[in-house]
Amino acid sequence: MKKRKSFWSASLALVMMMAVVLSACGKSNDSGNASPSASASSASPSASESPSASPSAPAGKTPRVAFVYIGPPGDGGWTYQHDLGVKYMEKELGMKADTVENVPESADAERIITELAQNHDIIFTTSFGYMDYTLNVAKKFPNVKFEHAGGYKTNDNMATYFGKNWEASYLSGIAAGKMTKKNHLGYVAAFPIPELIYNINAFTLGAQSVNKDVKVDIVWTNTWFDPTTERNAAISLLDKGADVLIAYQDSPASLQAANERGAMAGGNDSDMTRYAPKAYLTNPVWNWGPYYAKKVKALTDGTWTNEQYLGSFKDGMVDIAPLGESIPDDVKKLVEDQKAKFVAGEDNIFTGPIVDQSGAEKVASGQSLTDAEILEMNWLVKGVEGTIPK
């Protein structure tokens, strides 16, 4: 009897050990979540050749490149597109980059960027909230180059990059304005920051350009990524009568909710057709790869500058996902024609007259907003229902 009992505990202990081993595997394959320096040393071939503490970028040598991600590459949106960009760059330049995922926008970010700065030549930090942390580290490591996505602070060794994705939002607005049957659109918005505000405005202006009666309801979720909350927001909009949605969020939850209700929707950042081909509208997408390849190459050639880069349709950094299969050809053509204007760099969508929600004139007839003015927009155009929380 005793013997049998010990056999059982022994076999249970074996199960436990297997679980521990499994968990270790899971962790180590998680792209070095916890220990960026460990994954950095194993992945970069040049790191082992020059273990000097103060790195510089010798011309002609393969630079050691690192990326900091806010989410997992599997989010199907923002980080997914950055990851595609990194893969493109790796293929173009025949090198490997190091990535650290799930880095919170907190003091942790500064610690991780500092660790990366000790053995890399250029570091891309791919979320707005890393701005101050990146700047702090950039000041401490003058020989390392830093690239920050979406921010406005620079340093001698710190550049910024982003794109005019409002042009793409305008195009999805055209599609939405044509596809709505109730003249009622819904916008699931993450945070009340300029990036969202100019995208909501551009979307609304696009819809109004083809459908004067259209109105756009917005709800704020105050999260970039939470499928359940996003879904609830989308359902609330659908309940209120909206029949075409755009979700400026990182997950496809709104699109899936719209699909179940027979409505249409688009997402953000990346092509989301595969989640619901019938219900898919379109949405702005990012294409970071060429920029990454260009800047890393510039570093090798010694031509890197701390520019504030703003991409667009012209250079391909901003694009629109292929229009969904339910969208008829005449709507597709409308969108294509307008896209051609953006590619040629001809059209500024924030050209007057534009009035805000209260009816006050914000852009006079014949005038246009500059990029800088657009990037700090804090008012909503007429036709948007909802307020910007203060």
């Binding site: 249970l12 997992p72 909009l237 309940d239 989640y275 619901a276 909802g386 307020t387």
Partner: protein, 309 residues
């Protein structure tokens, strides 16, 4: 009235995963074992459901696979807490960390692939014209109906059967239960495993019904809300139902208020569920200040025969 029906329908759909997880937790904690691993178990349940459904396309196989992984996890937790008498809080937290890490790893391949199909709905067409009942109950999925049945069954089981009496005895006073001839260790194993299956099912429900694609970290803290719900419901399945739907409703009510066109900032609305939780807890605490908390009295204490602690 229509608005109320919409809110209740949304409350049921986002409250069902919370309800399953809370029911599982109640079963485990009633037997005297603390359960803090819900977040990790739900994530693993969701990712296994996704992988199994994509590969087999069969709901039955999917649910079996989820049950399988849950049994394994429950066995580990029970072995740690019952046989090894390890710290139950630490074991639960480890399960959460382990679950989020392993689910992220397993999910890499299926991430972004929508599942082929959905959970069948129980269409009660005769309810379609009925106000209120129609929009809420006419087209619920079978898992939601199963959760209703489960609440009633668990309530009857815990409070009306001799087995339920044994369960309460194990959780409140294991030495007495042992003297009564109840095999404390064996039953604790059984309840931890059964409860873990329900928590795994919560994750599967979230994936199959709610958000039909695997996305890393998709529970976004709902496992922790389920843990709080257990205490909120004072280890009672029927109260758990109302608490879970209350939280589900809170998920959606902020958006409804935004859309009415009120001037209340969305940050404030986001705070409502938590503020209301505190208020309700204070109210319940005040009302039952002279009654026992409802917590199993030996919760968190390992039991060894003939040993005092």
């Amino acid at each position: 009235m229509e608005l109320l029906a919409q809110i209740i329908a949304a409350a049921i759909s986002s409250g069902t995963p919370l309800l399953f997880a809370a029911l599982g937790g109640i079963l485990i904690e009633r037997s005297g074992i603390i359960q803090l691993g819900a977040e990790g178990i739900m994530l693993l349940g969701a990712v296994i459901a996704c992988i199994a459904f994509i590969h087999t396309g069969s709901l039955a196989v999917t649910l079996l696979a989820v049950a399988g992984i849950s049994i394994a996890l429950g066995l580990v937790h029970a072995f740690m807490c019952v046989t090894l008498r390890a710290n139950q809080t630490v074991s639960g937290l480890a399960m959460t960390l382990f679950g989020s890490g392993l689910s992220a790893y397993l999910g890499k391949k299926v991430s972004g692939t929508p599942i082929p199909g959905s959970v069948p709905k129980l269409n009660l067409n005769f309810l379609d014209g009925v106000p209120f009942l129609g929009p809420v109950f006419a087209h619920l999925d079978v898992l939601a109906w199963f959760s209703f049945v489960l609440v009633v069954a668990m309530h009857l089981y815990i409070h009306r059967t001799s087995w339920g009496l044994h369960l309460r005895a194990i959780g409140d006073n294991p030495p007495t239960a042992d003297v009564m001839g109840i095999r404390v260790q064996t039953f604790r194993y059984g309840y931890v495993i059964a409860g873990t299956i329900l928590i795994g099912l919560a994750g599967a429900d979230m994936l199959l019904v709610y958000s039909p694609t695997w996305t890393e970290g998709m529970t976004a803290g709902r496992g922790w809300i389920a843990v709080a719900l257990i205490i909120f419901a004072r280890w009672n399945p029927v109260r758990a139902l109302f608490c879970a739907y209350f939280f589900g409703a809170m998920d959606t009510i902020g958006f409804k208020i935004q859309l009415i066109g009120s001037e209340i900032p969305s940050y404030f609305l986001k705070m409502i569920p938590y503020a209301v939780t505190i208020l309700v807890l204070m109210f319940l605490g005040w009302r039952s200040r002279n009654k026992p908390s409802g917590s199993p009295q030996s919760l968190g204490l390992p039991y060894i025969r003939e040993q005092r602690f």
